[in-house]
C-alpha cells in the first residue's frame, strides 16, 4: 500500500514535471534555451542528478561513450557502473530521423533508474524530438525570411545595375532605344547595357548559363566588365575578348555567358558588332522587312581564356532597327509545353513596321505573354530595341566673311545628304541660311569671333539657328526696313530684300538677344 502510494505520488510528480516540460517546449523556440529547459525538467521527471541532451550535428558526428552507443543502436541504455546510474534514450523524429540522445545520470531517490523511468524518459524524448524539429523549422523559416529579404534587395540591386529602360534623349538624337528585362525568379542571369560614347552608342545583351543566385552574381560581374571595358575598347571584338579573359579568370570554365555587343556610329549608321554564342538579333528594316542579322557566333564568354572573337559590321539605314533578345523569349513555354519559337518572334516583329522602339518591345512582350498565358516563367527574358534615326543635327562655326559662304553651303549640303530632311525644302533653307549669314556679316562686320550655324530636325520641322556671339541688339524681324514689292523700278533698292525673302519662305522667324549674343531661329515645315 505504501509502495503504491509512493509510486502514485511519484507518477503524479513525474506527470506534473512532464506537463511543465511540454509547456516549456511549446513556448521556447530558440534551440539552445530549449535544451536548457529540457535538461532541467527531464532531471525532475526521472529524479536524476543531471540530464544532458546531445543534439546530433552532421558537422560534429556522433557523441562518444554511452550516448554514442545509443545513437548508433537507437536503443535505450539503463546501467549502473562505477560512476553511478545512467539512463540514455535516443531522440527520434516522427519521420524516423535520429535527432540526438537524451541522457540522465545518477538517480537521486534510488540506486538505479527503473522501468517507469525508462517509460518517462521515452515520453520526454518524443516531446524533445518534436521541440527540436520545431526549433529547427522555425530557424529555417526565419532564415528563409532573411533569405527572401536578401533576395529582394539583391533583385533591386540587380535591376539598378542595369541602365534605365530608355535613355533621356534630346529630340534630335540620332537614335531611339528601349530595353526590357524580366527575371524568372527574384534574381536573374540576363543582362543588358548601353551608354553613349561620343558619336556612338555602345550596347550589349547577355545571358548567363544556369539560373538563381550563382547566375545573378555572374550577371553582375559580366555587366560590370562590359561597362568598364567599353570605356577602353572602341572595337566590339576587342571588348568581347577583354570581358572573356576576365570572366574566365573569375568564374572558371563551369559558368559561361552568351553575349552580343556592338557600337552604332551615329554619323553613318554603321553597326560594328561581335557575337559570343548569342542568339542572332533581328534587323527590322525601315522598308518593313525583318531579317536575322547574319553573324558568326563566337564561343560563349568564359569558356576559353584566349578566344579571338570575330568583328563584323552592317549598315543601318535611317529607320532601321536592331532587335536583341535572350533565349527566354524564343523558349518561353506555355502550359502545353510548346515553345514561343523564333518563328513566332519574327511574325510579331513583322507586325511592328514603322513602330517606335518602345512599341516594338510592348508588342513582343504582349505576344510572349499572350502565348505563355498562366504557365510559370521558366527562364529570364531580356529584350532591347535600337532604332537608327540618322543624323538629325549638324552645326559648325564660320568666319565672319562672305568668303565663308561656300563652306556654309557645304554644311547645308551635308545636312541634306545625311539626314532625312525633305529635299523639297532645300532651296528655301539654303536661301534663309545665306540671307541670315550675309546679313550678319554685312551689318556686324566689327563683331568678334565666328558665327555658329546649326541645322536640326524636330518632328516635321527643320530648324535653323544662327548665333552671333558678339552682337549689338539688331532684330532683323523688326528692325530691317520693310520692302514694298510693288514699287516701280526706279525707287527700288537692294536693301532688306534678303530678310523679306526669308520671312516669305520660312514658316517662323524668331530673334533673341542677351549677353551680347544674338540668335535667329527659323523654322521650315517639311510636310
Amino acid at each position: 500500500m505504501e509502495v503504491t502510494e509512493q509510486s502514485e505520488r511519484r507518477t503524479a510528480r513525474a506527470l506534473y514535471a512532464l506537463l511543465e516540460l511540454a509547456k516549456a517546449l511549446s513556448s521556447e523556440v530558440d534551440l539552445d534555451s530549449l535544451l536548457k529547459v529540457i535538461e532541467e525538467k527531464a532531471s525532475s521527471v526521472v529524479e536524476a542528478e543531471r540530464t544532458n541532451v546531445f543534439v546530433l550535428d552532421s558537422a560534429r558526428g556522433l557523441p562518444i561513450g554511452v550516448a554514442g552507443d545509443v545513437a548508433r543502436t537507437r536503443t535505450l541504455v539503463n546501467i549502473i557502473d562505477e560512476g553511478g546510474s545512467l539512463l540514455a534514450v535516443p531522440i527520434i523524429s516522427s519521420g524516423g530521423e535520429l535527432l540526438g540522445v537524451l541522457q540522465s545520470m545518477n538517480k537521486t531517490t534510488a540506486e538505479r533508474f527503473d522501468s517507469s523511468d525508462e517509460s518517462l524518459m521515452l515520453a520526454v524524448a518524443s516531446h524533445v524530438a518534436v521541440a527540436i524539429e520545431r526549433a529547427r523549422f522555425t530557424a529555417l523559416s526565419i532564415e528563409n525570411e532573411r533569405l527572401a529579404a536578401g533576395l529582394k534587395l539583391a533583385s533591386e540591386i540587380q535591376m539598378r545595375m542595369l541602365p534605365s529602360a530608355t535613355v533621356a534623349l534630346s529630340e534630335d538624337a540620332p537614335f531611339e532605344m528601349h530595353a526590357y528585362i524580366r527575371p524568372a525568379k527574384m534574381v536573374g542571369g540576363d543582362l543588358y547595357d548601353f551608354a553613349m560614347k561620343g558619336n556612338r552608342l555602345y550596347f550589349c545583351i547577355g545571358d548567363v548559363s544556369g539560373k538563381g543566385i550563382g547566375s545573378a552574381l555572374v550577371m553582375a560581374l559580366t555587366k560590370t566588365l562590359f561597362r568598364a571595358n567599353a570605356a577602353y575598347y572602341a572595337d566590339a571584338a576587342k571588348l568581347m575578348e577583354a570581358v572573356n579573359v576576365r570572366l574566365y579568370e573569375e568564374t572558371g570554365p563551369t559558368m559561361f555567358v552568351t553575349a552580343f555587343c556592338g557600337f552604332l556610329d551615329f554619323n553613318d549608321g554603321i553597326l560594328r558588332f561581335s557575337n559570343a554564342g548569342h542568339d542572332r538579333p533581328f534587323l527590322l528594316r525601315d522598308t518593313g522587312a525583318v531579317d536575322l542579322l547574319e553573324s558568326k557566333p563566337g564561343l560563349a564568354l568564359g569558356v576559353m581564356p584566349k578566344f579571338q572573337y570575330p568583328l563584323q559590321y552592317t549598315t543601318l539605314a535611317r529607320g532601321d532597327a536592331l532587335f536583341l533578345y535572350t533565349d527566354g523569349v524564343t523558349e518561353a513555354t506555355n502550359a502545353s509545353e510548346e515553345l514561343f519559337t523564333l518563328g513566332r518572334l519574327r511574325q510579331t516583329l513583322e507586325r511592328c513596321a514603322g513602330e517606335s522602339a518602345v512599341r516594338v518591345l510592348e508588342e513582343a512582350i504582349d505576344a510572349v505573354d499572350g502565348f505563355v498565358q498562366h504557365a510559370p516563367q521558366a527562364d529570364d527574358i531580356a529584350m532591347m530595341c535600337i532604332r537608327y534615326l540618322g543624323v538629325r543635327r549638324l552645326a559648325a562655326a564660320f568666319d565672319r566673311s562672305i568668303d565663308a559662304l561656300p563652306e556654309v553651303m557645304r554644311l547645308v549640303d551635308t545636312f541634306f545628304v545625311k539626314t532625312a530632311a525633305n529635299p523639297n525644302v532645300r532651296f528655301p533653307v539654303e536661301l534663309a541660311v545665306e540671307e541670315v549669314f550675309t546679313n550678319i556679316v554685312k551689318h556686324n562686320s566689327g563683331g568678334e569671333g565666328e558665327i555658329k550655324i546649326e541645322l536640326r530636325i524636330r518632328d516635321q520641322d527643320l530648324i535653323i539657328t544662327v548665333t552671333d556671339f558678339d552682337a549689338p541688339r539688331f532684330d532683323p524681324t523688326a528692325d530691317a526696313p520693310e520692302v514694298d514689292i510693288n514699287q516701280p523700278l526706279a525707287s527700288r533698292t537692294e536693301g532688306g530684300l534678303g530678310i523679306h525673302l526669308v520671312k516669305k519662305m520660312m514658316d517662323r522667324i524668331e530673334y533673341s538677344h542677351g549677353n551680347r549674343t544674338g540668335t535667329i531661329t527659323l523654322r521650315k515645315r517639311m510636310n
Partner: protein, 94 residues
Amino acid sequence: MLEISVGENDTIILTGRFDAAEAEKARQIFLNLTEGKVVDFARLDYISSAGLGVLLAAQKKLSERGKALRLINVNGHIRDVFHFSGFDQIFEIT
C-alpha cells in the same frame, strides 16, 4: 559657282548658283551691259537676294536708256523668289 556665258542670239546663259559669293563678279559683267539682253535661267540652280540685287542694278541702269533684261526659263523655286520679291513686276519673264 556661277558661270556666265553667251549663247545663241546674244543670250546670256547663267549656270550654277547666283549667291552672295558670286554676286560681285557678276555685278561687273551686268553693270557693263549697254544693250537689252535675254537672260536664260534654265541652268540656274539657285538665286538669293544678292543675285536679285545685281539684276535690279542692271535693270535700273538699262532702263535709263530705255532698255531692259528679259528673263526666260525661270522655274520652280527661282520663280517663287521673283514672285515674293515683286521682281516679276519689274522684269519681263517669259
